[in-house]
Structure formats: structure tokens, C-alpha cells
Symmetry: D4
Subunit: 245 residues, 8 copies
């Protein structure tokens, strides 16, 4: 398959009349990247979100709506919770049970420094599971009580994870500590936990960017979608190599 | 006409008694610049906005109230929606149907990266249409799925637009990509879509300021009024040159 | 001509071997945009700059090297000042006298607030003249002595300029004042003149972005290339409309 | 009078028992500085504010409560509006009509760029009037329509004002323009009007700090109390010199 | 006792199954550091907080819940105010009256610049008292009326405090003044009191970090927990030395 | 005299030809404001500075060149030190001894927190003396050793100064302390002394902007020219009132 | 092998005497992570760097010294260029030719937006090659001339790269564009190319963090070491899976 | 002794004539605080530094000159290295061997994350030793190789240190890790090691301010003087308590 097939098709098309279509779904992205299209909730009307969600579920069997406001969340729960598999305390995943994601064999770990980081960890796990990965989670093992980290981290390594997402707000020290200990790629996910100077995730993000441990790359503050899709892409590519054995 | 006529008149006036008039409309601006006076909503009382709107509609046939709060919006809708042409989901344009803006012949394109950028695009279109331009819009063609951009962009160029407003939040990459492809001036309008580091439009603004594509200038984050009036001024001056043929 | 001709050609090409060519000139840009390719000096070796300059002069008859360091500047002067037209105290324009830029009929004004802003104004004029515009300059007319502004600004308007670049550091107030007085598009070019809080051009940039005058868009601090190419694009498109009469 | 009388008294006092008195009024400040004590509302309980206000009215005949929340405002209005002179749409001044401030002869002007700046201007006027100055106001004369500025500014100068407070948000250009025109000290009061980069008063503050006009000093964003007390101190000292004639 | 006992135990443990335990209490921290575990409220569900609080009260006789929202605060008051000692207007301390903290002999002073700083001072005192210190408070003695500072500061020194927490927002000048006067360690606690540039505690924090007085270290804005635990650790270590006499 | 005489003249002038005059002196400013024109050194060529200095000395008997680089400083010293009164270790004042500034009767104090602040204090004194004020200086009396402040501050008040410039870097606490003690207007001049977070004068500026002492306004970091001219304007206006007795 | 072997050994060791050893090499890291230890040049003395380099070459056959100053670079070249394989125009790799890195089978692509980004790309390639990867580079294919990107990007995909490092300064748009086109993980490496607002790599970093393309994670500005080691870790883990076939 | 003795003396003094003394030493500070006066080098002339150093050595037997430039350093070495004890690679301590500091019994540990942090650690040790403390150092034990930390940290605890200064740049994670392990107060000293976003010590400072470990307070970036004097004050007060046994 030509990797630029979509682009070539786009460029060969005649001029489009400029009508006011307010959103253009990308039905091919899942094929191109293995990453599902995510509907970013803020700033969109309820009507638009419902329409897009319906189109995506119809086309691909699933959808993720990130950061829906209360009205959107409740409306989607009303529409889908009886007939679909719906999950997520913050962002929302909806899956047609008749069309589950096939397991890719990719394996991930998700580790959080504190309990307040869990919603962001869940967002990363949601997108990774929609990409067919198996994900194991370890919560509340921050550097203020380092001894709590070792047994579950050893567990993740025993499972043979392909990558680890480390989620931390405040001082953001945990990803550097973990990346200093393991030999798999680490994705740092800074969270907005914390107040004052460096609060809202700034200290955590900067500390991760300044890490002295190799093998750590980061996504933006609270961007569980980005962390999960990056980690799952790494894991799925490794799993594909394993499958080709 | 002396371009500084207003200034000279002001300087020749005797000392004004300093009474507490709380707003001074500028009825001549439309003549000077072709740009309508816009009432900036935040921080003004309902009473003041209603009075200013009435004076401007009376004097010029139209008014734009930017970013009205819910109370102001609803009051203006109550007052004008039966008798006037009222438009805009965010900022509000009110037009006396008996005094429509004459078409100048200026032609603009407005392109958005995502659906969340639409309210700001609409604000730009509102002011441009109040300045007599014809505006075509293209929505949701961001760089994550670049193939969606080409057909409608080709359409805009076929229409012979005099300038293009490109509206983008988050990474703000689309204006640089568009300015690298077209030979008309591009106005970058960064929007506050996005969260975390560089959120609220900061990354988008900075990326546009750092563009490596020539022919791109920017206005402030979410400043649809500014983008629309700059683009319409460019288009109207070009249209005037065409008319002089 | 298909506006995306280059893109289509690129996408239809076979896979390129990934050799370490360290720069790829874009010989078609002048055709696509009317904007000459500019060699950004910092971070490039003398050898690379000399090679790129020679190729561009050969291909197009001219080149601009922005912000060359002393060694690069002196080397280029040695190589070209006897046989070519070389200009610019900061950035450097080199032109083959046998292949002058044809005049487009575009007309620009460039206005500076202080004497320290002149190098950036000259950079804008350099690129605009390489794009075929006629440019008139007005220097040192900042808001601390506003009376100095009016006679030369009246002169620019009498000349019928298509756009005005207003260059200001420190408080950055002049572009807002000028945009409040004239009916042509204004490009604000903030400069790094000034120290302390808001120094290095930050206050000037922010003040321009926050302008309450319509018809003003900005480029980045000290970006004379960007201001000049944007203004010249506006002027050349208007001139083209005039020519079509 | 020894200017450090209070300090010497404080240092000569015996050790105080450390009881939890939650506020310590400074009854001598009015004597030391001619500046009334202002109760900063945010973060204080209603009970504390009511008690402090009662003590200050009792001791000095007046009080200013800055930025009271709705509950505090309404409670104070209930308590005092029948028997005292209460004023201010944002901050609140309460004055015992039997003990009016004696006029000092100090004369001030207060000028705003836009209508949204009025609440901050009123705060400055409130404190200046509580310090015995006569204040004249001029509203909505920003640089986008400079001709509106001259007649009332001429009026202020005719009145012989000792200082001018210039209030501006957004681009913050007006104080630099005014300071370039008048020969009295100007206090720049940046306001939080405006959004996007440089919004919330940042651009206005920085532009004022970077002013190229001499004779301009600034206070913090929205700090009408600070601007009013500084200007009134200048005016009252000048008035004292006049009285000593 | 081996100081790394917990770590060694953690490392010697077998791999833990990665179940989704959402919080891991650290029952040994009180032994290791003498510092009680604090439940950080924001971002945790009511259910999780109630469960953690119950476990900690059960294990140690007390708990501090920092920054609970209204729902959490009211629920904890309902659950514990009849049977336990509950204190704190902002953060909340809950103590089993049958298991009071033994006094360590550590002695602290807490000084605030203004009344708005009191909630943060109270948070520092709460944690210090839970660590067994005796704390004396001095409120509202900022640099605008310096004479108010001396008698109570002399009082604190007479009491022989081991360290002083100085709490200040806005200009943040008081900690530098106090550290210039006393010979005990000073912990600066900047607070978010203040608005405009440097508001939200930024000016206070930076001014303390830039102090020209030796013997001053700081914690983050509004971090009463951090200031109190640091000061109490200093005081308790000194008290331990005294006890060993 | 009409205060806007210059403006009216400027507006009545015919269009000026736009020649490239690189600087426009403002010979009337001294009349308008009593403030001498200052040549801002950075970014200007030696030739331009020498020409402007000669013109200003010729026209007004004096000039100040702020922040000259070494080459400019040495050249000016060579040209003028034999025949003129030249002063200033950083910025440079040049005065024709035959045309000394007449004393206005204005009186100022300049106070610095540390020895490193002296160059900025000297710049303020230079401009104030060129405006005819008498200036007394007090150096190195910062808050780390507050006792050093009182005797000389008492001295300044005894002299009857009209305003005090307080110069401080690092924590910037001194202006707030002084403004809390005196009853004359205080101009805060933050300096770039200090490194790390809040270094380069940022903490000092922000702390002054956040001051809880009334009667303090600020100029930008290291802006001795601005502080001196503002203070001298205040003093000269007060002195004028005294003379009118 | 127990992944925490080093930690357990460290914790079981007796107390170390605290002598002033100024650096502690980590000879086991290569085993733990496959990542070589890199000597960070700035702030270290020549003597220390030479000693550490000699120890590492002795122990592992190779060393990377990042950002050596001129003196360090020249000294290392003198010491090693005759006998070792030395490479890198900025950071410096030294390899004992008798002990070359065994190829792992990992495959990477490195793509730059401009020529000024090449030094950082070379740093990433240096570390990746020291980790045994094969790396293909593509330079100067930024979004201002997008058509140049496609043929070499197609080439990289044909080679089957496991990950792509995309290096960009200024607008930082290229990584988002590439991540929108390919199905392998992308590491964004922002560079300090560019000046003005968002210069020094800030706009590039923020735009990458705000990307709307999935499958992109970033390292810090100019951190070629970090980008290279992260990408090589991904590639080597995938290669290991392939080898296990 | 009255703690405010100096203040009272200052306030009781008559007005001082305002002569231009450029520095005022504080000979009593050592008595008040036990902290020696430090001469801050930058911005002072060689002559002033030499004079102040001579006066302080004469008065107290020792001096610390922080951050002297090369000229100052060499001059002081020439003057004192034959006859005095001179130490410090960056800041410079000079001690009269005939008047050594008496040991107080205070005990400190200083720990650095990397070798580049050593100069700042040495500055902290220098001031602590001038205050009579015994200091043990541990270098290069950052979180990328955590196992290196434990043996020497155990050693420090065995020595019974009263406080630990932890010095770290880049990610700044080490102080949080150490404070989570020990039961003595920790002073975090962030250093300017590191580049890019959060470089120059910003990430390290913010991460320390955001620490989730109790018992950690910080000083400004690179402020070894501040960290050393704070830690030594804690240690000396504890030692005094021990001595009183």
C-alpha cells in the first residue's frame, strides 16, 4: 500500500465547493496508523458530538470522546449504556460489543505517582485498549515512599511489557526514577495535580523534559490520549515483530 | 479629503468640560477605515451596551457586539430578532435589513484546523461580511489528516480570494502549511483550543509567529474581529483596484 | 497552473535514497509565491552559505542572506561587491545587476518609531524591493513626540501606498496609533529595542497583538523578512489588480 | 514630629503576648501619610470586614473596602447606606457625612482609554477623594480614535491638575501618548481588559514600563487604590506648597 | 534501625500482581520521619478520602485532609465532629481524643503579613501541632506598618522558638525583614494573596527566593503543609537534642 | 501657550517628502516637559550618536547618552572631556560649563539597597540634575540590616525632599519599607542585581508592583532615566508651587 | 537477572565513608539499558572529562562527550583522533576501532526541517549508532516546501524504520505533519533555531506538545542525546522481537 | 541582649548627613545571626571589593567573596594567598590562619546529583565551614543510577548530620527522593545545570517546590551561600541545644 495514498487521492480531487461542513471524519486513519479517531469534547456542541460519535461507531465499532462536559457525558450514557460497552470516569469510551478490538499482543504498563493522577492514567489505558493492547496498572507509588514502587514494577517487567507510561503531577520525579531502573521505553505523562509555582503540571512536565535518565519521552500535561496512543503504537509494532516470528 | 481631518478638528476644538460621559462613539471610523465600530462586551453594563448598540444601528444600520455574556445576548435577541437580521453563535451581528452592506467585491477564504475553531472563524466572517466582502469557509482540515485540505483549498484559489484567514489552535501548524502552498496573503488566527503547556492558544500563536513560510502575519488569540477586519481591508483595497479598471 | 503542482510531483516521485544532502533549495518558490528564498544565516557553516548563495544567484539573479555573522558577511562582500549590487547593513542582499527585479507597481511605506529600529526596517525594505515593490521610508517618529509623525505619514498616503510596515520596539505603541489613522493594512514589526520587563521586543509584540485599532496584523520580533514579504505580497496582489485594468 | 515615632514606640514596647488577634489596624497611618487605611476584601470573612470597617469609621470617619464580594457588598450597603455616604460600583467607600474630608487643594485628572476601564478609574478617584483631592474624569479616549482625546485633555490642563492618572488595558498605549503631550507627572494604571497573549493587563503593564515618554511611572494591573493614592500624594504635596505661599 | 529498612523490604519482595489498588498508605512514614501522612484532597473522590481517612485514624489516631472541597469537608465533619477533635477552617485535622500527640518540646512561631494569609498559617500550625510542637502565632504585622511587628516578634524570641514560619503574599517582603532581625531559621511561606503582575503569590515567592537576608528558605505558594512540616522537623530535632541533655 | 502647539503645527504642515533622515530631534521637548532629550545608545552607530550629541549640546547646552558601549564612551570622552563637564560611570552626561542648568528648587533623595545598585542610582541623579534638581544620595541600606537605614532617611526628610527614588534589586523589599515610613511620593527603581528565579530584576519589579505600602509607583528595571525624570518632574512642579508664593 | 540487582547491592552495602569523589561512573548502565553513559560537558573541568572519558573507553570501548567546549574538543581530538574513530561536529563520539558496536538490527530515520537543525540530528544519530542501530537521515524538508518531504519519507518507510526522529526549530510543525502520515512512533526533537517570541525552541517544543497527530512524543529542546536514545531503545526492542523469530 | 539593639540604636541616632558612602558593612551581623557578611561580587568595582574584604578580614578574621570575576579573583589571590587560608574554585573564602572559626559542633551533609553541581555545593560548604560546622560531601549520586546513592547516604546518617543540603540541576528529582528517605531537614539547592525548557535551574527549582516529600525547603538557583547559611543555622542551633546538655 502506498503510504501517501490518501494524500494523492486528495490532491487529485477536483476543487471542492466550500460548503460549511463543520467536521470531516478521517475514516482511514485507523488503517494508516492503527490509532482510532478521538472526538475532542471541549468547544463542540452536543449535537455535533452525538452525530460524530454515531458515525464513528457505525464505521469502526467504537469511539472515544475526550473530556466531555457533564451534559455530553450524560447524553452519551443515556444513548449507549444499554447496548454498548461504555467505560471511563473522565473521557468516555464506547464500544459495540459485537465488534470488539482484536488483541494485537502489545503489552503496556501504566504507573501513577499518586491517586489524583488516576483519571489521566485511565484515559491512556482507554485508548491503548481500543488499539488492542493489554494494559496493567500500578497506582500511587510516588517517590515520597519509594519502597512501594519495587514489587509492582518488578511485576510489570516480569509480564514483559513493551513500554511503560509513567503518570505524575507535582514534582514529576517518578518517570526519571523509573526510566533509570528499566530497559523498556518510558512515556512520561505529566498531570495537572499540584498548585503554586510549577503547579498545573508545569513542574512535572519540565522535570521530565530535563530528565537525566535516558529512554524517556513525554507528552503534554494531562494528555492521556497522546501517551496511550504513543505507547500502544510502540507496543503494537513490537508485537507485530513478534508475530512475524 | 485630508486623512487627518478628525485630528485637526479635535485639536482646534476648545477645551471640553470634563463630564463623565462613559463612552464616545466614533461615527467617522467607518468613513476613515471602512471598518465598523465593534462594541467589546466584557466589562460593560447591559444598559451601556444597549444604548451604544441602538446609537450605532441608528447611525450606520448595523452593529457587532463581541463576546456578550448570556444576559446581554438574550436581551439583544429579544430587542432585535424580530425586526433585524441577527447572526453569530458567539459574537453577535445585528443588521437593519433595510440598509444592507453594499458588496465591495472583496473575496476572502476562512479555513479552520478543527471544529472547535469554528466560533472564532465565524467572528472573523461576521466582521468581514459587515465590511462588504464575500467569504467562503472551509472547516476541519488540520494537519493530522492533511489530505482533507487540498480539494477545498483548491476551491478557494479557484474563486480568486484576495486573502485567506487560517484559524488553528493546539499545534497551530496549519497556517504555516497553507502559507507554504498559496500565493495570497494569509492571516493566522490562533485559537484557545488546547490545554496543558502551550494551551489556551499560546503554542498556536508562537508557532505562527515562528513560521518558516513567507506571507503570513498574525493577530492575537481568538481575535476573530482583528483577523476579519485585517483580511477584509486587504480584500477591499484589492477590490477597489479592480473596480478602478 | 495547478497550485499544487509541486506537491503532486513530489508525491508521484519514487522513494528517494536517503543521502545526507544538507540543504534542498526550492527553485519554484519564486514562481509559486513571488517571494525569493532567503538563506537564514545563524547555525549554517560558511561553506554551506556560500554554496547556497551561489546556486540561488545563478538560478534567480539574486539572494538575501539574513543575519550573517561577521565572517560570512565579509566573505560574501569579498566575493560579490565588485561585480554585484550588494546592500544591507545587517541582512545582506546580493543582486546581479544584469538581472534586476522588474517593478511590479506595488507601493509600500515603512515607518519606524526610533533610530534603533532602522536595521529591522531595512531588512523589510530589502525583501520588498527584491519582490519588485517601491518602498518609501519614514524614520524616528515615535509617540513621545507625536507631532513629528504627521507630515511624513501624510506623504505616504499621498503616494498611494498599498500597505504600511510600522516598526517599533519598547512600548510598541506606534503601530496602534498609525492603524487608527490610515485606511490601508498595517503590518506591525516589533523590534528587540528595550531592556528590563517586556524588553527584547516582548512588550512591543504584546501591545501590537492587543491593539484596539482594526487593520493591524503582526509578525515576530525583529522579523523584517516576514514583515517585508507579507507587505509586498499585499502590495503586489493589489498592483496586479491595478494592472489588469 | 519624629518621622519614626511609631517605630520607636514599637521597639520600646515590652514583648507582646502572642495572642491570635487576626488584624491590627494602623490608626496613625492617616497622620503619617495622609493615606487612609484600605480594607482589602478578598480572603477575609464577612465578620472580620464588618468589624474592621466599624472600627475605622469610628476612628477616622471613613473607610474604603476594596473588591468586596457580593455578600460583603450587600451587607455593608444594608448597614451603612441609610446613614452614611456610600459610593463605588466595585470597591466601596463609606463616609460619615458629619465628618467630610477637608479639601486639600490637590487637583487630579483621571483619563481612561475605554469604557471597560471605568471601574478601575473609579477606584482611583475614590481613594483620591478620600484624601481630599478634587478629581476630574475623562473616559473612552483611546488611541484608536485619537481625535477624541484632545479637547478634554486640554480641559484638564486648563484646570491646572497636579498629576494625571491614565487608565488603559489592551495595548496600553494611551499613557505613553499622554505623557508625551503634558508637563505634569502621569501615573499609568494598566487594567485587565483584553484577552489572549498579553491579556489580563500584561501587555498594557509592559508597554507602560517600556514607555519612551518621560514622566510616567506605573502601578500594578487594576490597582486603582495604588494609582489614586500615589497621584493624590503628589497633588497634596504640591497643594501644600501652594498653601504655604 | 536501618534507615532504608522499608526500601530493602520492598526490593526483597516478590513481584506484586498489578491489581488496581487506587492508593497505598505509608504506615511507616510517621516512624521514619515523624511526619504524618496528609491526604491531598483535590482530584480524589469522596469515597476514597473517607476510606483513607478512616484507615489513617485507625492506624495513627489522627489525619489531615488538605484542601477538601465543600462536599468532603461536610461529610467528614458529619462523620467525626461528635467523637473526635476536628479543627481547621481550610484544611482539616481530625484527632482521636484518646490518642493525643505527645508534646515533643519543639517550639515554633508563625507570623503573617496580613489577615488574608491566616488560612495558610493555620494549615502550617495544624501539621506542626500534629507533629507535637507548641506553636505561637502573630498575625497582620506586614511592612506597611513595621512598628506593629516588633513587640510580638520580641515575644516569640523570648519564648525561645526553634524556627519561625513567616507567611506573606503580595510583596513578600516580611520574611526578608524578619530573617534580617532574628537568629533562628526562618521558613518563608508565600501566599496567593494579591492580583495583577506577580499576583497569586509569584512576587512573594520570587522576592523570598531573592532575599538578601541569610537564614531563609522557602516552600511553595500556599503550601502550609510543607512549611509546617519543615519547621516542625527542625524544632523536633532541636528538642531531641535538648532532651538528650 | 497652547499645550498642543507642536501637534497643531505638525498637522498643518504639508506632506513631507519621505527621505531617509535617520533621526529627528525634538528641540521643543525641553520646553514642553522640562525633560532633556536622552540619546539611547544601544543599536545606534557611533557616527549617529556623535552627530546627535553635537546637535543637542549646540541647541541646549547639554546631553545625556544612556548606556553607550565602550567605543562610544571613549570617543565622547575624547571629544568633550577637555572642554565640557562630563560625568557618569555608566550613562554619560555632557554639559557646556558656560550654560549650566538653572536650579529649580526641586529636591530629591535617592536611596539604594546595595552597592551594586549604584550605577542605576547615578543615572537617575544625572537626569534629575540636568533638570535642575538638588539630589541627596544614600547608599547600601537594604533590609538585611535595617538599622542602617534610619539615620540617613531621617536626614533626607529633614532636608525636605519632594520625592524619593528607592533603588533595589534582588528581593526589592526596600521601596515598600520606605514607602511605609515616609509621607512623600516614592518612585521604585528595580535593578537587575540578582540571579536565578526572579533574577535580573524581575522579583524586585514584581515585589514593588505588589507593594502593600501606598504612595509607591515604579519604573522599569534599570531605568534610571525614567525614575529620575519622573521624580524630578514631581519635584519641579512642587518647587514651582513654592516659587509662586 | 533481577532488574533491581544494582539497587539491592547498593542497599546491602555498608555505610560509605564520605570522601570527595567527584564523579561516579555507572559501568552497569549499558547492561541495564543498552544505553551508553554520556559525559555532559558543560560545567566539568578538562581534567575530569579526560579522566572519565579514558575510564569509559577502557571499560566499554567507546564514549560520547556532549557539548564539549573548544578546549575540551581539541584536547580530545589530540588524544584520540590518531588511534580511535572520532565523529561529530558538535557532540563528540570516540570509539575504539577494535571494539565496534555490534549491529542490533534496529532501524531509525532522522528527519530535519532545516539545515540549521543538523547538529542536533547528528547528536541523535551518534548515540543511536553507539547503541547499534542503523540510521538513515533526511535533511531540510520543512513545511514551507512540503513537496520536498515526500520522496525521502517514502524511502524511510520502504526501509522499514522502527521509529523516526523529526528535528525542527522555529514553528515546529514538521513532526505533526510527519506523525499524521506514518504508522511508526515519532520522536519530536525541538531545536533552538529561531529568535523572537517562541524562539530558542520554545514555539517548536510547545507546538509538538500540542500536536493533534497521535503517535508523537517529545524530548527537550536540542536534546539529541535523549531523542536518539529513546528512538534506539524502541528500535532495539523491536529488533529483539524480530530476532526471536 | 535585646534582639533589636541595632535597630534601636539606628532609630535613636540623629539625622545622618547624606554623603555618598558607597557601602555600609554590618559588623554586628555575625553577632546577631552567626552568619558572616558575604561580599556579592557582580556589579562591584575591584577597588570596592578589595576595600570591603580588607575591612571584613580586619574586623572578623575572614571574608567570603561570592562570584568574583577573573580580575577580582586573581587580585585577591595575589593579595592573600601567601598569608591567609584561601579556598573555593568559584566563590572565594579568605581566612586569617591566626583566627580560625571555632567549631560549633554543628554537622551537615552536602549531596550532589551530578559533577556539574559541585561548584555550588562547594559554595554552600564554604559558608557553613565559616560558620563553624563540620561538613561531609557526597557527589554524583543522581536518580539515573539510584543505587549509587545508598551507601554514602547511610554514611551521612551514621555521622548524625543535623541537616542535609541536596544539590541538583536538570530534573531536580534527587532532593525529593532524599527527603523521602531521611528524618532530618533537607535544604534543596537547585542549580543552573541543564538547557532547553526548564533549563538554567527552573525545572529543578519548580520540581523541588512541588515536592511530595515533607521536610524539604529550598533556596534560589545556584544560591550556595543561602543553602549553606540556612543549613548551618539549623545545625548550629541544634548543636547549641546539645551543648546545653
Amino acid at each position: 500500500m502506498d503510504p501517501f495514498e490518501d494524500l494523492i487521492a486528495g490532491l487529485s480531487s477536483p476543487s471542492a465547493p466550500t460548503s460549511a461542513a463543520d467536521a470531516r471524519l478521517d475514516p482511514h486513519r485507523r488503517n494508516r496508523k492503527g490509532v482510532p479517531e478521538v472526538i475532542y469534547g471541549p468547544g463542540k456542541t452536543l449535537e455535533l458530538i452525538e452525530r460524530l460519535a454515531a458515525e464513528l461507531i457505525d464505521a469502526t465499532g467504537r469511539v472515544i470522546v475526550s473530556r466531555p462536559d457533564r451534559e455530553v457525558r450524560e447524553s452519551l450514557l443515556r444513548l449507549y449504556s444499554d447496548t454498548h460497552h461504555v467505560s471511563g470516569r473522565w473521557s468516555l469510551g464506547i464500544e459495540d460489543p459485537a465488534r470488539p478490538v482484536p488483541a494485537t499482543g502489545g503489552r503496556l504498563g501504566v504507573v501513577t505517582a499518586g491517586s489524583s493522577d488516576i483519571p489521566y492514567a485511565e484515559e491512556a489505558m482507554l485508548v491503548a485498549r481500543h488499539m488492542g493492547c493489554r494494559v496493567s496498572e500500578v497506582y500511587d507509588v510516588g517517590v515520597a515512599g519509594l519502597h512501594r514502587l519495587f514489587p509492582p514494577l518488578r511485576g510489570l517487567l516480569d509480564e514483559g511489557v513493551d513500554a511503560i507510561v509513567v503518570v505524575a503531577g507535582m514534582d514529576g520525579a517518578l518517570p526519571s526514577v523509573v526510566a533509570g531502573l528499566v530497559n523498556v521505553p518510558v512515556i512520561g505523562l505529566p498531570t495537572s495535580t499540584g498548585y503554586g509555582a510549577g503547579g498545573g503540571g508545569i513542574a512535572a512536565l519540565l522535570s521530565m523534559l530535563q530528565t537525566c535518565s535516558p529512554g524517556l519521552a513525554v507528552v503534554n500535561i494531562d494528555n492521556g490520549i497522546g501517551a496511550g496512543s504513543m505507547a500502544a503504537l510502540i507496543a503494537n509494532n513490537a508485537a507485530q515483530a513478534r508475530r512475524k516470528r
